[in-house]
């Protein structure tokens, strides 16, 4: 650890570093300010992020840019229907040693890195998708009864293509829940498109510079993640987050045969088959903490929870057939839930 790391980080350090990383990424990525902020928030909150967007909106470019800026090891997996779990986690192969003896040796898969891009993760089978679960949740991989630790920081970014659904496997709820945020990359507007054209079709591509040196990158990022956890939250705000998560549950929600659904909003009752899990509340608080630091505060505010709710809750709400039939999406429901819970605050 360098000498710089010996000094405690301050709120200002966090905001400065965050903005610097953001600025470097935006040298390459035109627009998508909120998506980039969400991506970095997920990184510093210690979670993983799901990126949704139509082809060509810069999903892969964004992830590559992040890897470059952070100066961390970066791997990319293109998920296909025939991809096997061992292709991700790694496998034991027979290798010949210096003494000509052949023995099984573990060959790490692409998950062994700091930043992993799972491109079009919904094209792989559920079995292969699930291979990522252990790595994402516990930062370890178990192969042939042997567990291998992953070096922190570990950050998985998975992309979803929402329009080519044929031959895809929707991510199971358990895996969706492990992504702290879901970031959507919308289609760029005209001015952004013009800037994209001029910056990517010229002779010189925009160059981005790493914010950290390779040696200090992991340590600095871990320190910043720790600082996020130090941000203080009043119990009233924790209750507010809990209330918001409970409000996503329909009244008919049943847990192990016991009805625990909150007497929620009529629209939630009508369109939601299952609301957010407790991980949603954790995501709300952690995201709010990052937002507080960016605002120069050492405390979470109610408005941080409101602001982070769409990123943290959308992908955790399972809609029923009525919602699809009436073209109601999760974003509308989250907005409604936030408004309803905010009204109870005053």
């Amino acid at each position: 650890m360098s000498a710089a790391l010996a000094e405690p980080l301050t709120v200002a350090d966090f905001a400065r570093t965050f903005r610097r990383i953001q600025g470097e990424i935006h040298k390459l990525i035109i627009g998508h300010e909120q998506a980039v902020e969400g991506l970095l928030s997920a990184l510093f909150a210690g979670g993983h992020v799901l990126i949704e967007g139509v082809p060509g909106t810069g999903k892969t470019t964004l992830v590559k840019a992040l890897g470059t800026v952070l100066n961390l090891s970066f791997n990319r997996i293109q998920f296909t229907v025939d991809l096997m779990p061992a292709d991700i986690t790694g496998t034991r192969v027979i290798l010949t040693g210096d003494d000509n003896r052949r023995e099984f040796s573990f060959q790490p898969g692409p998950v062994f890195c700091h930043i992993l891009l799972g491109d079009e993760i919904n094209r792989a089978t559920p079995k292969t998708q699930s291979a990522l679960l252990e790595a994402m949740a516990e930062l370890q991989v178990t192969v042939a009864a042997k567990t291998y630790r992953l070096a922190p920081p570990y950050f998985v970014m998975a992309t979803l293509n929402p329009i080519e659904m044929e031959g895809t496997y929707a991510l199971p709820e358990a895996q969706l829940d492990r992504f702290i945020f879901k970031v959507s990359l919308g289609f760029p507007d005209e001015s952004e498109l013009v800037r994209i054209i001029s910056s990517t079709t010229g002779p010189d591509e925009a160059g981005i510079e790493p914010v950290f040196t390779h040696a200090e990158a992991a340590g600095r990022i871990e320190a910043l993640k720790h600082l996020v956890r130090e941000v203080m939250v009043a119990p009233a705000i924790e209750q507010y987050a809990a209330r918001m998560v409970r409000a996503t549950q329909p009244a008919s929600a049943s847990f192990m045969g016991e009805r625990r659904g909150a007497p929620g909003d009529e629209v939630v009752n009508r369109y939601v088959s299952f609301g957010s899990s407790p991980r949603g509340a954790q995501a709300l608080i952690l995201g709010a903490k990052v937002r507080a630091l960016l605002d120069g505060r050492a405390n979470v505010a109610f408005e941080d929870i409101d602001a982070i709710a769409p990123l943290a809750l959308q992908h955790r709400i399972m809609l029923n057939y009525a919602a699809h039939s009436d073209a109601v999406d999760a974003a509308q429901l989250v907005e409604r839930v936030v408004k309803a819970v905010r009204a109870t605050r005053s």
């Binding site: 405690p8 980080l9 709120v11 600082l227 203080m232 939250v233 009233a236 405390n299």
Partner: protein, 442 residues
């Protein structure tokens, strides 16, 4: 991250912030207390004003209804004010949340208070403390809550003004009482003209009844008959009767209108309504509301006077001793009553006058012509025609009917003046002059 070292300056900053929040809390709680007190007082004053006004102006049942509603609203309002005070009572967290909201501090103070109570400080605690100290001016009590006096004071002032405005009105309506208490003369009533009904126990007015033995025995019989009829009445009528009496008594207590006991001499003079002593025009021309010389303010038309349970030659003032009350019909003759005053009938029959649900104050106010038209004047124009005295206007007959013409003047003529002799100026034969003069003077 390293743990946060103890910082004595941090403790001082925390004390400063907590002291400021305590001052803010005291101010907010004081305002909440003021609000509850002012609203409570305003409610009580307004309700009392409404009740007093109703007592002076409304009929007993209407007064009872309005009074009950006003009292219920007052009690409900007091309970709500107390509940509101309890809710407005600010805890330290609530004060911090309010300060955050009004000073746009993004929940810094709320977090500071909560974390300080928990005691488990994070490494960012000094930063939060410093941040809050720097913004101390933003949540100074005077900036968060400028008022020291609750705006509900205006409500109290409005209630006081209402009470002040109502005071002259109550004085104005006291007129009939004053008249009622003026000189009382004994009344003579024909027993056959009285409608005797059982009186409520709560009735406070009474009368001193007197009469010969035969009349008192007759009265006892009539009272017994009335009691028997009363027992056969339905529950609703009895309740209404009781409510009227209760309301009337309450009104009397509130307004202070208490008619003195009447001296009534009872007589049994044959057929009802026959009274040769009363001129025919006194019945024909008297307005129905001007029937009583002694207005009854007892609160109930039935309780105007109370008779003893058993006939006796002379009885003490009725008070609450008798369960019966008498009513005189509107055309009760006023035997023995001097003619120079107003109508001598003291009791109006409410059923016949169309005011069957009125008594007490309305009875007194509605049946007292002096109260409506001012004090009676005793000049010559009322002589021989008591109708003029009641209505204070020229009657259709009597001497006062000529008030529209110039009065006759019997002043002596001076030497240069001569009396007009119209007959003399005509060619009337001397033998017919006396006849013509008589016709003229008729």
């Amino acid at each position: 991250m390293p743990s946060v070292p103890y910082n004595p300056r941090g403790e001082e900053k925390l004390k400063l912030i907590l002291g400021q929040l305590s001052a803010l809390r005291a101010r907010l709680n004081g305002l909440a207390f003021q609000q509850a007190v002012f609203v409570g007082l305003a409610l009580v004053i307004a309700a009392a004003t409404i009740i007093v006004l109703a007592a002076f102006t409304l009929a007993p049942l209407a007064f009872l209804t309005i009074g009950a509603v006003a009292a219920l609203i007052c009690l409900g309002g007091l309970a709500l004010a107390g509940r509101h005070l309890w809710r407005m009572r600010r805890s330290a967290e609530a004060v911090a949340a309010l300060a955050d909201k009004r000073a746009d501090l993004k929940d810094r103070i709320l977090t500071l208070i909560a974390v300080q109570k928990q005691g488990a400080h994070s490494s960012l605690w000094p930063y939060l403390l410093e941040d809050a100290t720097l913004r101390r001016e933003d949540f100074a009590p005077a900036r968060i809550e400028r008022r020291r006096i609750s705006r509900t004071l205006y409500l109290l002032v409005a209630a006081l003004m209402l009470a002040a405005l109502a005071t002259p009105l109550t004085r104005h309506t006291r007129g009939p009482v004053a008249v009622a208490k003026r000189g009382q003369t004994p009344l003579t009533l024909n027993l056959r003209d009285l409608n005797i009904q059982p009186s409520d126990r709560g009735s406070e007015n009474g009368a001193r009844l007197s009469g010969d033995a035969k009349t008192m025995r007759k009265l006892a019989q009539m009272m017994a008959e009335a009691q028997r009829k009363e027992r056969n009445k339905d529950l609703l009528s009895k309740m209404k009767h009781s409510a009227q009496n209760l309301a009337g008594n309450l009104q009397n207590k509130i307004t202070g209108r208490q008619a003195p006991p009447l001296d009534i001499r009872l007589a049994d003079n044959g057929a009802p309504g026959s009274n040769p002593a009363t001129p025919p025009e006194s019945n024909l021309n008297s307005p129905p509301e001007s029937n009583a010389q002694q207005p009854s303010d007892s609160g109930s038309p039935q309780s105007s006077a109370q008779a003893p349970a058993h006939g006796s030659e002379e009885t003490q003032p009725g008070g609450n001793q008798s369960p019966l009350a008498m009513q005189a019909p509107p055309n009760t003759p006023d035997q023995g009553q001097p003619q120079g005053g107003a109508d001598s009938r003291p009791f109006a029959d409410p059923q016949r006058s169309g005011n069957d649900d009125t008594g007490g104050a309305s009875h007194g106010a509605g049946t007292d012509p002096q109260g409506l038209y001012g004090p009676p004047d005793n000049d010559n124009k009322s002589q021989g025609s008591f109708q003029i005295a009641i209505d204070a206007r020229p009657g259709a007959s009597g001497h006062a009917a000529n008030r529209a013409y110039p009065p006759k003047v019997n002043a002596p003529l001076n030497p240069e003046q001569h009396a007009d002799e119209p007959i003399g100026r005509t060619d009337v034969p001397a033998e017919d002059r006396s006849t013509i003069k008589r016709i003229f003077e008729r």
